[in-house]
């Protein structure tokens, strides 16, 4: 039963509950007009203590497309946080007005504070480098819709595997499905942390290999998930400059990939995917953004207990 649930971490929902969301998302994708009034009269509060155009737009579009309405702020300066109000007090107040709250905050665990204070469901839309569960929901829905299954896939993940939270969550989430194999492509300095390698992959006997070069492994992949090397994660500018251009996927490299491999990316990209890949039908990253909206539509309907 997802009605009334918070979504704070990618693994808060069981495989079955995730399945419920994906089933509803598929119905919405097939017939979006049918759901145009599913959340009539409902109000979403978007509390963005740090800017995030993409995630905020995705949630707002999701709510508006379901007939609901949106209030909120898009940076802490335009909220009462600038006056020194605590997260608890802000959420307790917002819960008096809205039916559901979406929250992004630079501090890790902030949405949990919000969820404890508010008596309405709270969705974590990113808390620092910690969790971003609706990105995981988006990634899984994209794979399911594009590949038809979340099982028996060889998934390549390339780029910053050390700091990228979406990557850690994706590995954890996909590890719950059968027959998934990972190929982890990164420089030595940006390999997955121990808690992912030992705590998830080895512990659950998930097959994986760690490699340094992208092109040789491309032919075996069903999915290639590219990530951006994020400047803000580095203390040293030199390290960032040295590592940022290590992997660039371009049309020439795509010739080595399977005809039905898909390329995913959480966006925004910098230069890790050349624009000459955009016209390749295997480039799924903009479709992925659209699936993100559908995933959020299904999520909002489920936690608000809307009739299907």
């Amino acid at each position: 039963m997802l009605k009334g649930s918070d979504l704070l971490e990618p693994m808060d929902f069981s495989v079955e509950e995730m399945g419920e969301i994906f089933d509803l998302a598929a119905k919405i994708i097939a017939n979006p007009r049918k759901y145009a009034h599913a959340l009539d009269g409902r109000l979403l509060a978007t509390l963005f203590y740090e800017p995030s155009t993409r995630t905020r737009f995705s949630f707002e579009a999701a709510m508006l497309r379901l007939g609901g309405q949106v209030i909120g702020f898009s940076e802490a300066n335009s909220s009462s946080a600038a006056k020194g109000e605590s997260i608890s007090d802000t959420l307790r107040t917002v819960a008096c007005y809205a039916d559901v709250a979406v929250m992004r905050h630079p501090k890790e665990g902030a949405p949990r504070i919000g969820a404890i204070a508010a008596d309405i469901p709270v969705i974590n839309a990113g808390d620092g480098g910690h969790h971003h569960p609706t990105q995981t929901l988006t990634d899984l829905l994209t794979i399911l819709e594009e590949k038809g299954s979340l099982e028996n896939l060889t998934v390549g993940i390339c780029g910053d595997l050390k700091f990228g939270r979406t990557v850690h969550s994706l590995i954890k989430a996909l590890s719950r499905y059968g027959g998934v194999k990972f190929v982890l492509i990164s420089p030595e300095e940006l390999v997955v942390p121990d808690y992912v390698r030992d705590g998830i992959l080895i512990k659950n006997r998930i097959p994986f290999e760690e490699v340094r070069k992208l092109t040789p492994v491309l032919p075996q992949l069903d999915i290639l998930y590219m990530t951006r090397v994020q400047k803000e994660r580095f203390f040293n500018e030199e390290d960032y400059v040295r590592l940022k251009d290590r992997y660039i996927l371009d049309a020439a490299k795509m010739k080595h990939a399977k005809p039905d491999m898909i390329v995913m990316h959480p966006l925004p990209r910098v230069n890790e995917i050349s624009v000459d890949v955009d016209s390749d039908p295997r480039a799924a990253y903009f479709r992925q953004a659209k699936y993100g909206m559908y995933a959020r539509m299904a999520l909002l309907m489920k936690i608000l207990g809307a009739e299907e």
């Binding site: 501090k107 665990g109 902030a110 949990r112």
Partner: protein, 157 residues
Amino acid sequence: MLVVNSIERGIVIDHITAGVGAKILSYLNIDTSNHTVAFLMNAESTLLGRKDVIKIKDVLDLDLSELGLLDPNATVNIIENHKVVRKIKLAIPEKVVDIIHCKNPRCVTSIEPNAPHIFHLVDSDRRVYRCEYCDDMVSMEKDGLNELIHKKHQPSK
């Protein structure tokens, strides 16, 4: 051989790992209380080789979870009429609230003044705890107690 008289009524914290006794005195604010306290350091122990012992006169209640966190090997004896009426073997607590403070500067507890600091035990052998909010791990063995444990405010006199 140093001899310390028995107490008529109170608490004896025995089998404290040698060297931890002073920390217990400090973190539980026993060192600044008005109670009569006997503190033995590096006493001979057949079980541990060396141990610390704390005797507190006329006190019968103590935060056992806090004590279990500081030294899960210690035992607590409740004394009435010079006799041990109850012997408590401490256990490492599964959940501790407002004792360990999260040292992750990115954790929300660094900016939310009234949020309770909650930690969950994830590895009892190494005494590793996880922050409820940011999932940061702390080891009570490795990480310095001084940094982690939040000393309780003393009640105003």
